[in-house]
């Protein structure tokens, strides 16, 4: 079980009964608190299982030490601080077939954060795209 603060059962979620209620109803928790985390939900499929196991938890694991991945039956639940990025050219190499960023989107079930594509890269970020940071178009080759 992950001990990361980004884990599915971290913080208040580890508490039960009265202990949970005390924190849940505490005065400081009656307003929202700004969070720099992002959440990604990937529908389980042949390709997504490979992306999760071979890339995000494999070759690229060291790139994002805040990333937590949890198996929630039909889907993978991912949470990280800052951003999660998937380069679909790497996925193509792994799968041995052309796999575009739009093929990736076929099984991306939910996002909490600002998600966007640029070229063959999918990104979900805590940055405020379009407000703090401009959304870019593909540059001319």
């Amino acid at each position: 079980m992950s001990t990361s603060s980004n884990a599915y059962g971290a913080g208040i979620m580890a508490k039960t009964g009265k202990a949970f209620a005390d924190e849940y109803f505490a005065e400081e928790n009656q307003v929202v608190h700004e969070s720099h985390e992002v959440v990604l939900v990937l529908k389980k499929s042949d390709e997504m299982n490979s992306v999760v196991e071979e890339i995000l938890l494999g070759d690229r694991k060291a790139d994002n030490p805040t990333l937590v991945v949890e198996d929630r039956a039909g889907y993978w639940w991912l949470k990280a601080t800052g951003k999660i990025e998937v380069d679909c050219t790497e996925v193509s190499e792994l799968l041995g077939k052309n796999f575009s960023v739009y093929d990736f989107l076929v099984d991306v079930s939910s996002t909490i954060g600002r998600a966007y594509t640029l070229g063959e890269t999918f990104t979900i970020t805590s940055e405020l795209m379009g407000l703090d940071v401009k959304l870019k178009d593909l540059e001319k080759a």
Partner: protein, 527 residues
């Protein structure tokens, strides 16, 4: 063989300047930027008080070809799974009977939401001026049509392949009498398609989709799997693969008005109204479906709500927008109280009103009662002992002559309907955030369960004129109303809804209800 001069010239030219074998979708997207469209003469059904900027982007750079290819792959995977392996393993009959009933509500109600979202996003297409923003909304219109079909299909699949089809196949015919229908229409229909276009976007996209689709369409799949249902994850997780673009559309709607002066005046009120409107219904109904409509529990509903609604939607969406003046919704404190208690309040009333529904309900077992008390300290004293009394009086048995609705009358606990949300509440027997408020307007009394709905009503009372079941059927005997409101199975005498899911238990008929002599009364008349 000799080649022609022209062919040779072409071959030589290609040897120097190779023609591209394909053009990437994002290159096409970039090329489309060179077109300019003028949408100054937009025709909108409902205008907006905000000015939407005309340089807003669509975050996924989607073009029609890739959109169509993506959606066709999604459908192939979904229908392939349903029609092949899930049918072969008889998946629909492996679902726990309690969860089978929950899916009657969830899939039928979601279908209505998806259907109304078609109109909502069409209206937003009319309102926006930025070509990319329009493109995002247009994709969403097509998504919502797909989702409406998906929800219809999963009901059809459950009805055809599974157990107890009544309620999966014809739920909508009970819409006049079912006490959950009108609230659902308020949240899933009126909130999405009536009024200021940007306000509708906040209801649909920023709150409905970015916040509540995560429990409704994502977390629900975990409950489904735990209760033997593998059809729902197949369909619902596929639906949700479109929702991330809808969430982005909602965010870009806010981006498009962020620098408009009107945003500083109205955005926080519109956001709070939308949050309260959506949570007022989704919070108790989803909690009730998950916890009381399942045999195997995944986690307490309040934890699901705390994760997806409070921590993640609240912190990652709303909290991050704080520097642009977006505030924590003023109604959050009451919403949190509801997330802890309101689904328990609602189940008490839903069970009492069971003959008017289109799905079967089950009282908590002793084992479940322990689970509730462990996770919601104080549950037994408020709810558990009432269920024990109802069970002892034979509430499941048609020969008992007892409907739990009688218990509320015997104990002087009148049930009201909140005029704005249309959600029933019992102010004298409730632990959620509901308290009774009554106002009179044009010679008619109106009941409200909270200050947030009351405020919305005061600003436009003519918007909330829908009759509730107590007003509509006052003085009428219950069995007459059930027959008139199509609450019967195909034999013409057995009720669709039942107060148990025991396959060997006796089913209630119209005659059993008639013997009790229950008559509708409007509680507002007694005030």
């Amino acid at each position: 063989m000799a080649i022609s001069t022209a062919t040779k010239a072409a071959t030589d030219a290609l040897a120097v300047n190779r023609a591209p074998v394909s053009v990437g979708a994002q290159e096409v997207h970039r090329w489309l930027q060179s077109f300019t469209w003028d949408f100054d003469k937009n025709r909108t059904k409902y205008s907006t008080k905000y000015k939407m900027a005309n340089d807003t982007k669509e975050q996924f750079k989607l073009i029609a070809k890739e959109y169509a290819r993506m959606e066709s792959v999604k459908d192939e995977r979904q229908f392939g799974s349903l029609q092949d392996v899930l049918t072969r393993v008889d998946a629909a009959n492996r679902v726990h009977p309690k969860w089978n009933e929950s899916m009657k509500v969830i899939s039928n109600f979601l279908e209505v939401g998806e259907y109304n979202a078609i109109a909502a996003t069409g209206m937003l297409w009319d309102s926006a001026t930025a070509p990319e923003q329009k493109n995002g909304y247009l994709g969403q219109v097509m998504d919502e049509i797909r989702h409406t079909n998906q929800c219809g299909y999963i009901n059809y699949y459950f009805a055809k392949q599974g157990q107890d089809a009544a309620g999966h196949n014809d739920a909508r015919r009970t819409r006049a009498i079912g006490p959950l229908w009108k609230g659902m229409k308020r949240v899933f229909s009126d909130g999405f398609i009536s009024g200021d276009a940007v306000e509708c976007s906040i209801n649909l996209q920023l709150v409905g989709e970015a916040c509540f689709t995560n429990p409704l369409i994502v977390a629900v799949t975990e409950w489904a799997s735990a209760n033997g249902d593998e059809m729902t994850p197949t369909v619902f997780l596929s639906i949700e693969t479109d929702e991330l673009r809808h969430m982005a559309n909602g965010y870009q709607t806010v981006v498009s008005i962020a620098n408009d002066e009107a945003a500083s005046k109205y955005l926080n009120t519109d956001l709070n109204n939308a949050f309260w409107t959506q949570q007022k219904y989704f919070t108790p109904v989803l909690g009730m479906m998950f916890e009381y409509g399942s045999h195997f529990k995944v986690e307490p509903w309040v934890k699901t709500w705390n994760r997806w609604v409070y921590e993640d939607w609240g912190g990652i969406w709303i909290g991050r927008l704080g520097k642009y003046g977006v505030e924590s919704p003023a109604s959050l404190r009451d919403a949190k109280k509801d997330a802890y208690w309101a689904h328990h309040d609602l189940f008490l009333l839903a069970y009492a009103l069971w003959p008017t529904g289109f799905f079967r309900l089950t009282l908590p077992t002793a084992e479940e009662a322990e689970w509730y008390e462990a996770n919601y300290p104080g549950w037994y004293d408020m709810y558990g002992k009432v269920y024990e009394e109802w069970r002892a009086r034979g509430c499941e048995d048609p020969s008992s002559g007892f409907l739990p609705l009688q218990w509320f009358a015997e104990n002087n606990h009148p049930i009201y309907i909140d005029r704005v949300s249309q959600v029933p509440f019992c102010p004298s027997y409730s632990k959620g955030a509901s308290t009774l408020r009554v106002l009179e307007y044009n010679g008619k009394k109106h009941s409200f369960s909270d200050q947030w709905g009351e405020r919305m009503w005061l600003s436009e009372p003519e918007r909330y004129e829908c009759q509730n079941i107590f007003e509509q059927y006052e003085g009428r005997e219950l069995s007459e109303v059930i027959a008139e409101g199509h609450g019967l199975r195909s034999d013409g005498k057995t009720l669709i809804s039942q107060p148990h899911t025991n396959k060997d238990g006796k089913l209630w008929t119209l005659d059993d209800i008639k013997k009790i002599g229950c008559v509708f009364a409007d509680p507002l008349k007694a005030l």
